[in-house]
């Protein structure tokens, strides 16, 4: 199977967590909150675009309420493929981490 890059994985997770409210800004803020560092826009959107191209996420356009400017906003939604991908990643991660000796123990 093709592995995702770490940021792609994080992005997918963020979109999953945000459910219906996953759009550009909220995704970035979610990522920043989870990782604890500031991200450059390019580092977020280029992989996001790649995820979209590869069919892991899809988009939905919705008008914003008038008091917020009334401009269209793009929401991102996990596709079925994306969901499967996340599940398989979770499994791999769990397997990989399963028999790791306690890292806090000294040599």
């Amino acid at each position: 199977m093709r592995f995702l890059s770490r940021i792609e994985e994080i992005l997918l997770l963020s979109i999953w967590k945000l459910k219906d409210n996953a759009y550009g800004i909220s995704i970035r803020e979610q990522v920043e909150q989870d990782t604890g560092v500031r991200w450059l826009s390019g580092a977020i959107y280029a992989p996001l675009n790649r995820l979209r191209k590869n069919g892991y996420v899809s988009t939905r356009q919705a008008e914003q309420p008038a008091e917020l400017g009334g401009r269209p906003r793009i929401y991102y939604i996990l596709t079925k493929l994306g969901k499967q991908k996340l599940i398989s990643i979770q499994r791999v991660n769990r397997d990989v981490w399963q028999d790791v000796p306690d890292l806090k123990k000294e040599f």
Binding site: G24, I25, Y45, A46, N49, G69, P72, I74
Partner: protein, 850 residues
């Protein structure tokens, strides 16, 4: 959310780079961040951060969009560098060709820019004009920038459209401060309005008041150092011509190189004007400049001004006109593009050289394209689009150009001192000048586009099936275009070569034309008051030295006599004919000193006291008057003192050869003597000079000994032509060099292509000479064809250039023939290295693998 002005534009750009969805998301995010930022950091910082963020986001998206990701770009770069390294010869030829081409182009454009910027630094340069007059003289129309003294102030008073007017003249005076005495020939006699009209940077003193008193003097920074060293000059007293005392009232910045105004000192014009001259409209000796009002009508002002002078001088056919200040350097008064012509010439050379370098690149890249054919095929097979491949190779060309740019930049620094030496300017690429930087990058981009576009399209059009089947004829694709390009390249080189030989033969012609006098070994000194008084004893003393043949006095140097005299009366002259003759005041020894030839009559002589009212004319003047037997005829310049013609001299060139022979009159007029001419004939020039200096200091104490040689003035008289010749020469060598590099590359390519053919031919008994012929004949055909194109091109351009001169060298067929022969030999020589190597190689090596 607040509305952000650039949001929509941003969204549009981003959408083009990716897709609508991405564009919308990112633009929204950027706007959001901007609003957040401006709350936190204030408007300025947030704007900077916003700008930075935009760039940072667009770059990776762009790379992804165009190349399909950063990794793809890395791959392209790696492949490109690998190729540069593997095919060193090819890369070196391409890069050096481009670098030299770019360097030349940049140098020439720097020069052109400086040429076009003459006098543009004045604040209102577009509204400043020089007044010149146009006058009718029989059939001929004359142009002259000298104007009468009262014109400036009268015009300002009477004519509505004139905002400021000023007048000035340049004079040569002796300036003395303490023990420092120098002859200064860039002394402007002007008044305060001069500083109002033109823009001057005053370091000390004020423009408004500097020349307001009759004994004020203003100097440039260089002069301040020359006379005062570190002292403060303000208020100090300078002695001018040993008679006037002047108080320094100001110091201005040195005269810029790109200005037609040349000055070291300014003194009030009253120093040289006569009180009685205030209403003298008949004597024309000053330059008048005017600054027009914003909305003034040029034509109306000219009309009014002409009316003004016609009223004063009703019998003369004179009209006044205005020439824009910024045109003075580039156009002559009758509108001929004297300076502009060189601007065009050199721009064309620049374009030629760049074109030659680009053609090299195109040719070599397409010729060697076979090496890349498999790469292209493979890339296409695994899914690359044509657009992507084209971009890849285009990017590669840009990479070459960028490397060449770096080299060009270094070359510029190395070469510009030498270039400045030839051009007499101080040109340099100024990295703080936005114009220069933009120009530099423009040239780089143009070079990249020119040289990269065709190879990119060519390579990207390969079809994978053809490539892998091997059915693509080896390197033969695009060979027609390649031929045409090489022919163009050589046509340009040959045309440049012919032009250069024509320029040099014209310069040679000028040097060797019989001028009617002998310039060599004549020394000139400046006349001054003291010398005037002590002339006779000093002359006697000088003639005691066996190395000194003759000593004489005259008004102007014999090879540049600009004086013209009108109001001439002669026997049988039709009164309305406004004849103007060249004019020089000479003494009895002049004709002998200059070794001129008297064809009829006699020389001036001390034995005939009446000679002061007599005249010697040249043959042209006699022809103008239509005399068969001129000697003894009545002739005069001055109605009150009638004189006769006593002699006729052979025609002589009193002006640079750009000008035609003039009818000329020579007269004894002691008041006009300004120069002393000394003919020396000696093996010990240094000793003779020492002797002259010695005599000088005895008879003319207190004046510095300053002299020059008449024939040295040749260089300054034909300055523009000599410089043009030199610059042309250098660039032609470079153009040919670059062409040859290209030819070298192509010939090695051909030799490589034909290795097997040569092997087979040799086995079947072909001789080395036969094979050499086989390899070279193609190139020779191209060069011959190039000649056919170049000849008419060079002929047209050079005929045009020669029209500058009244006396032209004959452009014989041999100039063309020699250039053609040279081109053929050079091409043959270039090609021969590779050909000989291929022809003498052992067929075993080339056929071993078959």
């Amino acid at each position: 959310m607040k509305k952000h002005p650039t949001l929509n534009r941003m969204r549009w750009i981003l959408s083009r780079l990716t897709n609508d969805a991405m564009g919308t998301s990112i633009a929204e995010d950027l706007a959001y961040r901007f609003v957040q930022d401006s709350k936190e950091h204030g408007p300025v910082l947030s704007r900077i951060r916003h700008g930075f963020r935009c760039v940072v986001i667009i770059l990776p998206l762009y790379i992804e969009h165009v190349f399909g990701g950063v990794s793809m770009l890395k791959n392209y770069l790696k492949i490109a560098l690998r190729h540069i390294k593997r095919y060193k010869g090819y890369s070196i030829i391409n890069i050096t060709g481009l670098a030299i081409g770019m360097t030349c182009t940049i140098l020439i454009f720097l020069w052109v820019q400086s040429e076009l910027s003459f006098d543009r630094y004045h604040e209102n340069a577009d509204r400043i004009y020089r007044v010149y007059k146009k006058y009718q003289m029989g059939e001929e129309t004359g142009y002259n920038p000298s104007t009468p003294l009262p014109l400036a102030s009268a015009a300002k008073q009477k004519i509505a459209g004139i905002q400021v007017s000023t007048k000035y003249t340049r004079s040569t005076v002796l300036v003395k401060y303490g023990d420092k005495i120098f002859t200064e020939n860039r002394v402007c006699c002007a008044d305060t309005s001069f500083f109002n009209l033109f823009t001057f940077q005053f370091i000390k003193g004020h423009a408004e008041t500097a020349l307001s008193t009759p004994n004020a003097i203003v100097m440039t920074r260089d002069m301040e150092t020359k006379y005062f060293g570190g002292q403060d000059p303000m208020g100090k007293v300078l002695t001018v011509d040993n008679r006037g005392e002047f108080i320094v009232t100001g110091v201005v910045e040195n005269a810029p190189v790109h200005s037609e105004l040349r000055y070291d000192f300014f003194i009030p014009i009253s120093f040289i004007t006569d009180v009685n001259a205030a209403d003298d409209w008949g004597t024309h000796w000053l330059y008048t400049y005017v600054m027009l009002e914003q909305n003034a009508n040029l034509f109306d002002v000219e009309q009014e001004m002409s009316a003004m002078i016609q009223e004063r001088l009703p019998e003369e056919k004179i009209s006044l006109h205005l020439q824009p200040l910024t045109d003075i350097h580039l156009y002559s008064l009758d509108g001929k593009p004297v300076g502009m012509r060189y601007v065009y010439f050199f721009s064309i050379i620049a374009i030629f050289i760049l074109a030659i370098a680009c053609i090299n690149f195109m040719n070599l890249t397409t010729a060697y394209s076979l090496r890349r054919a498999r790469e292209v095929g493979l890339r296409k097979t695994v899914g690359a689009e044509k657009k992507q491949i084209a971009l890849q190779f285009f990017g590669e060309s840009l990479l070459f150009t960028c490397i060449a740019m770096g080299i060009a930049f270094v070359l510029l620094q190395l070469v510009s001192p030498a270039f400045n030496d030839v051009t007499g300017r101080s040109l340099a690429l100024d990295v703080t000048n936005l114009k220069h930087i933009l120009g530099f990058f423009l040239i780089v981009i143009v070079t990249g586009l020119l040289s990269g576009a065709y190879p990119a399209l060519f390579l990207s059009s390969f079809r994978p099936a053809d490539v892998f089947k091997g059915s693509m004829s080896r390197g033969m694709k695009g060979s027609t275009l390649r031929k045409i390009l090489v022919i163009i390249q050589f046509s340009l080189s040959i045309a440049l070569m012919i032009s250069t030989s024509v320029i040099y033969s014209q310069l040679d012609y000028i040097k060797n034309t019989d001028k009617g006098y002998t310039e060599e070994n004549v020394l000139y000194l400046y006349m001054n008051r003291q010398l005037r008084e002590n002339y006779q004893p000093m002359k006697n003393e000088l003639l005691k030295n066996p190395g000194i043949k003759n000593v004489s006095r005259t008004s102007e140097l014999p090879n540049s006599i600009w004086s013209i005299i009108r109001g001439i009366v002669w026997e049988g002259k039709e009164t309305d004919e406004g004849a103007a003759f060249g004019f020089a005041a000479i003494d009895e020894d002049y004709i002998e000193t200059m070794q001129m030839e008297i064809v009829q009559g006699r020389n001036f002589s001390k034995a005939f006291p009446a000679d002061s009212a007599n005249y010697i004319l040249n043959q042209k003047a006699i022809a103008v008057m239509g005399y068969e037997d001129p000697i003894g005829r009545r002739f005069t310049l001055d109605q009150d003192a009638p004189g006769t013609i006593i002699g006729v001299v052979k025609d002589f060139h009193s002006l640079p050869l750009n000008y035609a022979l003039e009818p000329f009159v020579l007269t004894l007029a002691p008041n006009w003597y300004r120069r002393v001419l000394i003919r020396v004939q000696t093996d010990d020039m240094a000793g003779t000079l020492r002797y002259i200096e010695n005599v000088w200091s005895r008879f003319v104490p207190g004046f510095p000994f300053e002299y020059g040689f008449l024939d040295e003035r040749f260089d300054s008289m034909y300055d523009a032509e000599l410089r043009a010749g030199k610059i042309f020469g250098y660039f032609v060598v470079i153009a040919i060099f670059i062409s040859c590099m290209g030819l070298f590359g192509l010939s090695s390519f051909t030799a490589e292509q034909k290795t097997k053919e040569i092997g087979v031919r040799k086995i079947l008994g072909a001789s080395t000479v036969k094979i050499l012929y086989l390899l070279s004949k193609e190139f020779m055909k191209w060069v011959l064809l190039a000649n056919v194109i170049a000849w008419p091109m060079a002929y047209v351009v050079m005929t045009k250039w020669l029209q500058n001169f009244a006396y032209r060298a004959h452009v014989g067929i041999w100039v063309f023939a020699v250039s053609a022969l040279a081109a053929i030999l050079i091409a043959l020589f270039t090609v021969s290295y590779q050909s000989i190597r291929a022809a003498t190689s052992n067929p075993v090596d080339s056929l071993r693998y078959e």
